[in-house]
Symmetry: C2
Subunit: 338 residues, 2 copies
């Protein structure tokens, strides 16, 4: 897959080049993530569409923006007629957000609070609407969903609205021979040396990357649906059985996961997908390589189970296991950490 461009490598240049996190947090580079998110037109355009094109829902309402970043969603809400918007973020980016809302004349309509929602004192206690762009890779990696659910329980009026209000995770299987060679088997022979100890680690770390639709060899399977209006934090630890049906004779080298987001409460039910069939987003898709290649024929099924739980040491990281079996093969269970 030529289109593959792993960001794992470049990611860590960021870490590598950073010897003082505080210092770095003030540098422009720290805003690079916001540049990428703002330039993700599927993401930002969908929120704008859901908010600005639904001013009938926002006119005169109070709005809480959880993890407001540069304040773009707060400004969309203000533009849509919100009576007052409170944006909260624990990152230094909020200092720039304050300059931005002032430069755009929202000083009186938008109040920004720097800190953790869990601890912060908000100027308003009950909101009509909560907006948040909380999604991470694989939907839940590093996601702020737990914070959004807390905000809902603590600050949303009965019958209040959540933007977005629905999320679904899908799973499929892909043919990925060439890229698996480059990313995984590469470690078998590095300038003639055996680096297989790193291969073992690489195999257990899901790869965030773009995958061509033509690599998908099974129908997608919905493994998790989250209704934000009713979901509980415990729902983010889950076990999901799946059945993947092959659409052609091929070889499977990995499972692929992606998510869809919808704003069901909007007039036209704005939604977007981060799947391989949809337009590029900065979330790309998530690839889970299998320890060995699976041979499938059209209409064959791969039956299995995916479990997902926050990592014990760092609850924004995820422990994921995928167990699967195919006709006549021994069952396999693979654990991943992301």
């Amino acid at each position: 897959m030529e289109s593959h461009t792993s960001n794992k490598g470049t990611d860590l240049l960021g870490l590598h080049d950073m010897t003082s996190k505080d210092y770095y947090a003030d540098s422009y580079a720290h805003f690079g993530i916001h540049e990428e998110m703002l330039k993700d037109s599927v993401r930002t355009g969908s929120y704008r569409h859901a908010i600005v094109d639904n001013s009938h829902l926002f006119k005169g309402k109070t709005v809480l923006d959880v993890g407001c970043g540069t304040g773009i969603l707060s400004m969309f809400a203000a533009k849509a007629g919100a009576s007052h918007v409170v944006g909260i973020d624990m990152s230094n980016i909020i200092d720039q957000a304050q300059k931005i809302i002032e430069a755009n004349g929202f000083k009186d309509t938008i109040t920004l609070v720097k800190g953790k929602l869990e601890e912060a004192e908000l100027p308003i206690q009950q909101f009509d609407i909560i907006i948040s762009e909380w999604m991470g890779y694989f939907l839940l990696y590093e996601s702020m969903l737990d914070t959004v659910l807390l905000a809902r329980d603590r600050y949303l009026k009965p019958g209040g609205l959540l933007f977005p209000d629905n999320a679904t995770i899908y799973l499929a299987a892909i043919e990925d021979q060439d890229y698996k060679e480059e990313k995984i088997n590469f470690w078998d022979n590095v300038y003639g040396f055996d680096y297989s100890c790193i291969k073992d680690i690489a195999l257990r770390e899901p790869l965030v990357d773009t995958v061509d639709l033509k690599s998908v060899v099974t129908h997608p399977y919905l493994i998790k649906q989250i209704d934000l209006t009713t979901a509980k934090k415990e729902d983010l630890t889950f076990e999901a059985p799946f059945t993947l049906t092959a659409t052609r004779n091929d070889y499977v080298h990995a499972f692929l996961a992606w998510f869809d987001i919808s704003f069901k409460c909007t007039h036209k039910g704005v939604k977007f997908s981060t799947g391989p069939h949809a337009q590029y987003t900065h979330w790309k898709q998530t690839v889970f390589y299998t320890p060995s290649t699976i041979k499938v024929s059209e209409s064959d099924t791969i039956n299995g189970k995916l479990t997902c739980a926050p990592n014990a040491r760092n609850n924004r990281d995820l422990d994921i296991t995928i167990s699967y079996e195919t006709e006549g093969e021994r069952p396999v269970t693979m654990s991943y950490k992301m």
Copy 2:
């Protein structure tokens, strides 16, 4: 420039996604930087060429590898006949390096030490050769050169060899209208909002990126030469006058810097360049946008001065200023932080 692919954005996804540095340091992603460095064939191939093809220099010699990472250079030295190699690195990667040298049968030839060279106890006190891949973006950003010079003064035998032993930094001016629009002027209008406060910060942060040779509108000018056999730490803070001569009529939007590395002590004087005229390396080039566009005609000169000093708060970061003037224009001084 279509080929532009900024890594500033993706870099920081790494930072963004990291809530526990220690935890992260153990994850595969932490090794992503090593994957990128190993797959940089100009970098790793040049070191292999300089070391393995010069076994007459390594046979029976003691070698110190400063910042050994996965141990690839140490293994090259062992393969070239070194009697003993000591590799030192403060990163967790050295735990994998230990497994790698054992898997490749170098357990007795290579000794790995985890820690800072400044504080570590080495099993050998005097070495015949010091090898190190210490270079960062713009040669000196996050570079380990100061540590390599310390290693030279403390551990290198009189007349001992340094791999590499020479580095030079070059400057040129480039036409970069389209990309400056995308990276800098983007902030003037973000979904109709004024984000210019971020534009000001963006302008002062050099951009690490690949630039097409055809964008270069002046002759390159050598602004800094470092002879590692004699350089002192103080030499890494410098002031360099420059004169850039335009090769055609065009507009200048940025200065461009890159570096060359050479192993003069080798039989054929192995060298490589990270310039826009050379094959891609993970160091790419470094772009310094000018506050305003400079109009140049063929053979016009841009006279100026570049100063470079370690940042006071974080000595692996750099404070860089570029002062320049062109015929009939007011002198400009721009300060950058990277």
